[in-house]
């Protein structure tokens, strides 16, 4: 118990949402973040509407789409219903996201869209983060209509807590991705194989995915022929991912991490032609305008907030 207290107080030093909830500017940013999320959602609906599913083979509805079999709907009708429902739900959320019913409808529509996209031989991972965020945002207290100064403090900090929770679950997924890279790198290193931190690792990944995806990625030939140039970026990636969750207790780093993760997704597209559109969307919305990022942060403070490096600096040079 003492160890847990020590870790919490001296290493994690979590944010005080109770304290932040007193700041009207923070609350304004928090409300805007949620509004931006719902304002931008029609873009996701357009993306889904634009995608053609008509010629897809092997549609096998997942359990959230049980209604498809109950109603004995034809495949084309299912597509039409989902596209219309998603557009309607996102438009509803644009205008009425301050009402819980609109947020519930959007979540249900997203859930159905994700289930549909996952009903063709393999689960779709692209929509997970939007699904989780939309689910968490259902529980936001209603603080839109009133002047923020008149909103009860308890409602304000609950509002911040749910935004923090949504951000944390997004960053946790990156932390898990980083964790597995370390775990399997150790296993492959012990087996004498090329592992994640080896010079040729990125070239192997690119060479493996290129022919399977049947797409010509712009940077693929360069990475395969010059593995030493790409190596530093690929070797640093597991660290960036593993410590993603750290920005939830050091919010000054949130924008930095979001930018780096978006660059990683762009790099993945250029190297392997694998797109992570929804991930870029959620990172930009949740972290570029995060209410938890301090108004002013110096480079020195950023350095001290870095995981491990910051602690080493504090230990050797004293706090800030």
């Amino acid at each position: 118990m003492r160890l847990l207290q020590y870790i919490t107080r001296h290493i994690l030093q979590p944010l005080s949402l109770t304290h932040l909830a007193h700041d009207a500017e923070v609350m304004q940013k928090a409300r805007m973040l949620v509004s931006y999320y719902y304002y931008a959602m029609p873009l996701m609906a357009l993306w889904f509407v634009y995608t053609s599913f008509l010629a897809r083979e092997n549609f096998d509805p997942m359990w959230p789409l049980a209604w498809v079999e109950w109603l004995s709907l034809e495949y084309i009708s299912v597509i039409l219903v989902l596209k219309l429902a998603f557009v309607a739900a996102t438009l509803g959320a644009v205008f009425f996201h301050h009402h819980r019913w609109a947020r519930i409808l959007l979540f249900v529509a997203l859930w159905q869209v994700h289930a549909f996209e996952s009903s063709f031989l393999a689960l779709n991972h692209q929509w997970y983060l939007l699904l989780y965020t939309s689910c968490i945002f259902i529980f936001l207290p209603n603080i839109w209509h009133t002047d923020i100064a008149h909103v009860a403090h308890d409602a304000r900090r609950r509002f911040l807590l749910f935004i923090w929770g949504a951000q944390a679950i997004v960053m946790l997924t990156y932390t898990l991705a980083g964790l597995w890279k370390f775990v399997f790198a150790y296993g492959q290193y012990m087996a004498g194989e090329v592992h994640t931190f080896a010079m040729e690792a990125f070239a192997y990944q690119v060479a493996n995915w290129g022919p399977r995806l049947q797409e010509d990625a712009l940077l693929a030939p360069f990475i395969i022929n010059n593995p030493e140039v790409a190596w530093p970026f690929y070797a640093l990636l597991p660290f960036l991912q593993l410590f993603a969750i750290w920005v939830m207790v050091r919010p000054s780093l949130q924008r930095v991490w979001a930018v780096l993760l978006i660059l990683f997704h762009i790099g993945t597209f250029l190297a392997m032609h694998i797109s992570f559109t929804q991930f870029v969307f959620i990172l930009a919305i949740l972290f570029f305008n995060s209410p938890f990022v301090p108004a002013r942060t110096t480079a020195r403070e950023l350095l001290y907030d870095l995981p491990v490096i910051g602690h080493l600096l504090s230990w050797r040079l004293g706090r800030r």
């Binding site: 010629a55 063709f120 031989l121 689960l123 898990l176 790198a185 492959q188 080896a198 060479a207 022919p211």
Partner: protein, 157 residues
């Protein structure tokens, strides 16, 4: 719910997600909707050991040598799917055939693969291949190739 309790619920929810994601990876190595382990690109594909298909006939076209699925982009161009979506299905079929599973168990699997083909006659082989990803990129060579079973038939409209 009091704020202090709500805070604990949120933090415990995040810890629970972490535990579930780690557990499904450790015990099952598969996904458990709506949870995912987020193991992406964690294993460097040194030597790939997988099942695939090689097509020897589609309609009036006869392929000799047989057309590898990885080179058959045209099959996926119309249906907006990707070859990677079919990998799990083909590997399940390959493993089932290797185990000599009953015909009724494998029939559904190969029929789903055949849904990819245009109407008309078809013939293909399920093969198990091993290859080095980098070598394959450069010269499309396999280290080993074993034909597991061949299938042929006619697909209606």
């Amino acid at each position: 719910m009091h704020y202090t309790h709500l805070k604990r619920v949120v933090v415990l929810g995040i810890i629970a997600y972490f535990c579930v994601s780690v557990t499904i990876e450790v015990i099952d190595r598969a996904e458990m909707y709506p949870f995912f382990s987020w193991r992406l690109f964690a294993v460097v594909p040194n030597e790939v050991d997988t099942y695939t298909i090689e097509i020897s006939r589609l309609g009036n076209l006869v392929y000799d040598p047989a057309l590898r699925l990885m080179d058959a982009q045209f099959l996926f161009a119309n249906n907006k799917q990707q070859q990677t979506e079919y990998e799990l299905l083909i590997n399940n079929l390959g493993r089932a055939l290797t185990r000599n599973s009953p015909r009724q168990d494998t029939a559904q699997l190969h029929q789903r693969i055949e849904a990819l083909f245009p109407p008309g006659a078809f013939a293909y082989a399920v093969v198990r291949v091993t290859y080095d990803s980098l070598e394959y990129w450069h010269d499309r060579s396999y280290q080993s190739r074993d034909v597991i079973e061949t299938f042929s038939g006619t697909r209606g409209n």
